[in-house]
């Protein structure tokens, strides 16, 4: 029933329903992805993967390195196509990248060094032909939202790693996508900046209630951020191993809280063997 509604509704209407009923926004069914190397050999990254992401949830996809979690994100973003199976958004097959899915990359090389912070944030709106006044207003608002007041005229080269990731987040949010796809966006940051960014992201998510797919290999990060965690098998031929609902309250999303540690142990128990397998295979 839920699926039927999701497949009939267009993207915009989904969000309206998300508060009341949980609806599937993204669906992967029987998805497999084979990469062909230059030598001609095939690498089976993902095999027979099923995954539903519901509108309004903060979904963390957790996995060891090389488990194909970025491949999953790239297929939803439309950067890559599945070799077999279906990848759908709001009931429609994803054909390519689109402004309804905003991507935050791990590396800041996705920013445009010739544009100011504000120029980077309004880039998407400029490409989509929004009037200048509206663009600037929205870009400024989102610059404030990510805590970069007064930095609008700085260029990426003048900003720290954390600030650059803030610009990436603001750039995507200002474009008002249906969903955020975040590919280990804080992995390159130092521990303190990462913790601060995680807190800010929770705040932003509470304020906007966008659907988020967040890729990470860090259990801590997943437990702090997610409303649901999907754990992946070690690659190759990876698929989902299990799901864990995270029902922690705000105050409990603290690395020293008992309930936090409870969830942490649960996730850790699920991924422990996969880490061992991944380590063995990489040697």
């Amino acid at each position: 029933m839920r699926r039927a509604v999701a497949s009939r509704r267009r993207g915009e209407s989904i969000i309206g329903f998300s508060e009341a009923v949980s609806l599937t926004l993204v669906r992967l069914a029987g998805v497999g992805k084979i990469f062909r190397s230059l030598q001609g050999s095939n690498y089976l990254a993902v095999h027979d993967l099923d995954l539903d992401i519901e509108a309004g949830e903060f979904f963390c996809l957790l996995g060891t390195s090389g488990c194909g979690k970025t491949t999953v994100l790239n297929m939803i973003a439309g950067f890559e196509r599945p070799t077999v199976g279906k990848v759908e958004m709001a009931g429609r097959v994803i054909e390519g990248p689109g402004a309804d899915r905003g991507v935050v990359f791990q590396s800041d090389d996705s920013l445009y060094p010739w544009l100011s912070a504000l120029g980077n944030i309004e880039f998407g709106m400029r490409m989509r032909g929004l009037p200048r006044a509206e663009r600037l207003e929205r870009a400024r608002r989102h610059l404030d939202l990510v805590g970069l007041q007064g930095q609008e005229h700085k260029h990426p080269a003048e900003l720290s790693g954390g600030m650059k990731q803030r610009i990436q987040i603001a750039r995507v949010l200002a474009n008002e996508p249906l969903m955020l796809l975040m590919d280990e966006p804080f992995a390159a940051l130092d521990a303190h900046t990462r913790a601060a960014m995680q807190r800010e992201l929770i705040k932003i998510w509470r304020a906007t209630r966008k659907t988020v797919l967040f890729i990470t290999h860090d259990i801590d990060e997943a437990v702090i951020l997610a409303t649901r965690i999907g754990v992946m098998h070690a690659g190759p031929a990876s698929k989902l191993k299990g799901m864990i609902e995270v029902t922690l309250k705000d105050a409990e999303r603290d690395r020293t809280h008992d309930r936090f540690l409870g969830v942490y142990r649960q996730v850790h128990a699920m991924i422990r063997d996969e880490v061992a397998i991944a380590m063995q295979r990489s040697q």
């Binding site: 973003a77 439309g78 950067f79």
Partner: protein, 253 residues
Amino acid sequence: MYRSVTRFGGYLVGFASLFALWHVASVYLLNSVLFPPPLRVMAKAVELAEDGTLWSNASVSLQRIALGFLFGSLLGIPLGLAIGSFAIVRRLLEPYTEFLRFIPATALITVAVIWFGIGEGSKVFLIIYTTIFIVIINTAAGVSAVTPNKIRAARSLGASRAQVFLFVALPATLPYILTGMRLAMGNSFVTIIAAELVAANAGLGKMIWDARLYMLVDQIFVALLVLGLLGFTADRLFRWGIYAFAGRFSPLT
């Protein structure tokens, strides 16, 4: 402030030492009419400047460089962009670029004169030839150096393929284009003199060749001095232009 003083001062001392070394070598080491000291060369330069020969020859050479450099760049940039953007264009044009860039413009001087005559045509052709390949190769390299994430980000922010080219690939490639043009500028100075030495009715190269016939060594050195100064100035102006107008298009980060 302090830094700009030391920088300017450094240049000044550097240039002064160059002229001092020249003076010492000419007066004390070789002491020959065949190697005039800087002051005599400058006196000759003033004389040639006053009777107009220096300016007319220098301006002829500069005009040839400017024309050839302009057309070479105007042709080279779009070709480089196309080669860098489309694999099929690269395969079609690479035989031309990879073959022709190893034939130096100086080797084509005689052919150019036979085809286009002794006047401006052959000179401008040679400068275009010497400019175009460096600009093409640098531009194409710049296009392929655009990080895939920049393009992916633009696509998922709603940019069309044409917009990605215009607003991402082009500005990201600009520093490479400008570097190619700067290298081409240096080559143009080499090529124009060689071309004018072999066959020309005016220009700094012609001035050197005429002076050789009458053993006017001073005049040869005036031309050499002017060449060095013009090349240096052109390069500085270009670098300054890059810095002023395209400094923010840094290829880094």
